[in-house]
């Protein structure tokens, strides 16, 4: 049940941040891959946090703590 990668949206996003940059032909697919892996790591971390507080659902505080860690990790 995977959806298609929003290639044009990704390109617009990067263009907005860095107008002087342009993406290669299939570079945006790799950007999408990077984005998926980022969300994957974020979800794993949030799930771990939720399990630690013995809750079956992921709450916003779990996500917040996870975000701090993962964002730090995903800095190149």
């Amino acid at each position: 049940m995977k959806r298609a990668a929003p290639r044009s949206t990704l390109r617009t996003l990067i263009k907005r941040h860095k107008p002087q940059l342009c993406l290669a032909a299939y570079a945006d697919l790799l950007v999408h891959l990077n984005f998926l892996l980022f969300l994957h790591r974020l979800a794993e971390e949030a799930r771990a946090n939720a399990f630690e507080s013995k809750s079956k659902t992921i709450k916003s505080e779990h996500t917040m703590a996870a975000a701090k860690v993962i964002l730090k990790k995903s800095r190149g």
């Binding site: 995977k2 342009c22 993406l23 299939y26 790799l30 999408h32 891959l33 939720a50 079956k56 992921i58």
Partner: protein
């Protein structure tokens, strides 16, 4: 020689055409004059709109919450005010802004702010203010919507031109001062008006008189400040006159109405304070303290939030809080109103107001007032009315004024809102549904809705970081285009790609569809490589 002769002939022939030239020249001055007029208007409009809008919004919010409780009382007071007299009418006119009824909330809010300010400055007895408040409320009843729209427009014009009708403006400015943030002028006038308030009967008469005056003033385009306020005041006056005429026999309930009116005024003042200058606030504080004491009884009825706001305002006022704090209070008030009302529309209004305020804070008060003025008429019409965006203000005002239906269908408002929305540029953002799906798929456990908002913010930060890193890598390679190699380097630095985990494996794992084929070169028989490199 021939040329010289030719020149001479030309010169001679030129003399007759001189008259033509002269005739041609004459039309120029009128055009320039017209131009000046045209140029002036647009300048003022902006300033006025914002103020009026903000004031209108605030008033509406206040009105909606408080007016409901004081509807009956306000009407009575408004009638009383009408009978007061011309001087009172001025006050009443401004009072009409305060609004007697919830629908008129928009108007009343603007009116409250203006009359309250003026009242405070005048330091008139609380009763006097109450009377004016009553009048304002009454006036707000019917024509508020129409008048507000008119006053707003007029205000714009007025700003451009100097005050020809200072008197008229003063009264009007009281009503609109709050919305238009023409605090200073309002204060001076407000004080004078406040004194006149005690004549409820006069108010009624005054309102009608004012209306005519306002209309005249509008045409003349008086001074900037008064213009904005007069338009508002005129509106309120017109409204009040209508309301007063209908409500006439309420004199007995004057004191109660006055209290409520003062209470309402205080609220408006609070809302408007943020818009107004510090001077106005100071004066208002003094007056408010008096009013609040009187209106404390009445205040109890209004929603708790309102009282809170009032109390905060009173305390804040005593402390002479700066404009910024006032603004915050206004925002808070708006937020609270949204919460209290519990109506989606109101919340949207509050949000829109906040958004607009935050977005346009740099632009100062003017844009806010415009927004408020826009929202005022809407509120007056109905609670459900949603403030349309700044651009759509004139339309919304016109429509509001024309209809003035107690509860316009939400659908209409929604339609209006959607129509307005496209005007604003939409920021490109990833579809939230996609993010939600991907995240929940990776999480494998149910996720709370609030958590998604956090994820959304995370994603924004992530993309910002990503673009920065990619730019750094590309610049390092002295290129201008981001290549796949840059992406791979990024993933390696992130720890996603290691010696044990090559990129292709990741691609095969996570990317769906034919993306794999596009990214990974595959050798086919016959010396073919797909994709073709």
């Amino acid at each position: 020689m021939v040329g010289l002769e030719w020149c001479y002939s030309l010169s001679l022939s030129l003399s007759p055409p001189r008259s033509l030239q002269i005739s041609l020249a004459t039309p120029v001055p009128p055009e320039s004059v017209e131009k000046r007029g045209l140029i002036r208007r647009p300048k003022n409009r902006k300033a006025v709109n914002v103020e009026a809008f903000e004031g209108g919004v605030e008033q509406n919010l206040l009105q909606i919450k408080g007016t409901q409780n004081h509807m009956a009382e306000s009407q009575a007071t408004s009638i009383i005010g009408m009978t007061m007299g011309t001087s009172d009418t001025e006050i009443v006119l401004s009072n009409t802004e305060l609004f007697a009824q919830p629908q008129l909330g928009e108007q009343s809010q603007a009116g409250f702010s203006a009359p309250e300010q003026k009242l405070l400055k005048g330091k008139n007895p609380v009763q006097g203010r109450k009377a004016s408040n009553a009048a304002i409320e009454a006036g707000v009843l019917s024509d508020v919507d129409a008048k507000e729209g008119m006053t707003e427009r007029l205000q714009k014009k007025d700003l451009a031109q100097d005050p020809e009708h200072t008197d008229q403006m003063a009264t009007e400015s009281r009503g609109r001062a709050v919305s238009l943030s023409s605090e200073q002028r309002e204060h001076t006038r407000g004080s004078s008006y406040a004194e006149q308030l005690p004549g409820a009967d006069e108010l009624v008469a005054g309102i009608k008189y004012r209306r005519s005056q306002r209309e005249l003033s509008w045409g003349l385009l008086s001074s900037d400040r008064p213009s904005s306020s007069p338009s508002a005041a005129s509106r309120s006056l017109s409204r009040r006159s209508d309301a007063l005429s209908a409500l006439q026999p309420v004199k007995s309930s004057r004191p109660s109405v006055r209290e409520t009116v003062t209470h309402i005024i205080e609220k408006l003042d609070d809302a408007d304070e943020s818009e107004e200058m510090a001077d106005v606030e100071q004066e208002m504080e003094d007056d408010r303290a008096e009013q609040e004491g009187a209106a404390s009884e009445v205040v109890k009825s209004p929603t708790s939030a309102r009282t809170r706001r009032l109390s905060r305002h009173s305390t804040a006022m005593a402390a002479l809080y700066p404009e910024q704090s006032g603004r915050k209070l206004m925002k808070e008030a708006v937020e609270r109103e949204a919460e209290l009302d519990g109506v989606a529309v109101i919340g949207e209004v509050g949000d829109s107001e906040e958004e607009e305020m935050t977005e346009e804070e740099a632009e100062t008060e003017e844009p806010e007032s415009e927004e408020l003025s826009m929202k005022t008429p809407a509120f007056i019409r109905t609670k459900a009315y949603r403030p349309s965006p700044l651009l759509s203000t004139p339309r919304s005002l016109k429509t509001a004024a024309s209809r003035f239906s107690p509860k316009p269908p939400l659908a209409q408002q929604a339609a209006k809102r959607t129509v307005m929305a496209p005007r604003r540029k939409r920021e490109p953002a990833l579809p939230s549904s996609l993010v939600k799906k991907i995240f929940s798929h990776y999480a494998k456990v149910p996720v709370a809705r609030d958590a998604f908002k956090v994820v959304e913010k995370c994603v924004e930060v992530y993309f910002r970081q990503l673009s920065n890193d990619l730019e750094a890598y590309t610049m390092h390679a002295r290129r201008k285009t981001v290549q796949e190699a840059d992406l791979e380097l990024l993933m390696r630095r992130q720890g996603l790609v290691t010696d044990k985990m090559p990129l292709h494996v990741l691609i095969e794992r996570h990317l769906p569809l034919e993306y794999r084929k596009l990214l990974i070169p595959v050798a086919m028989s016959g010396n073919k490589v797909i994709p073709h490199k």
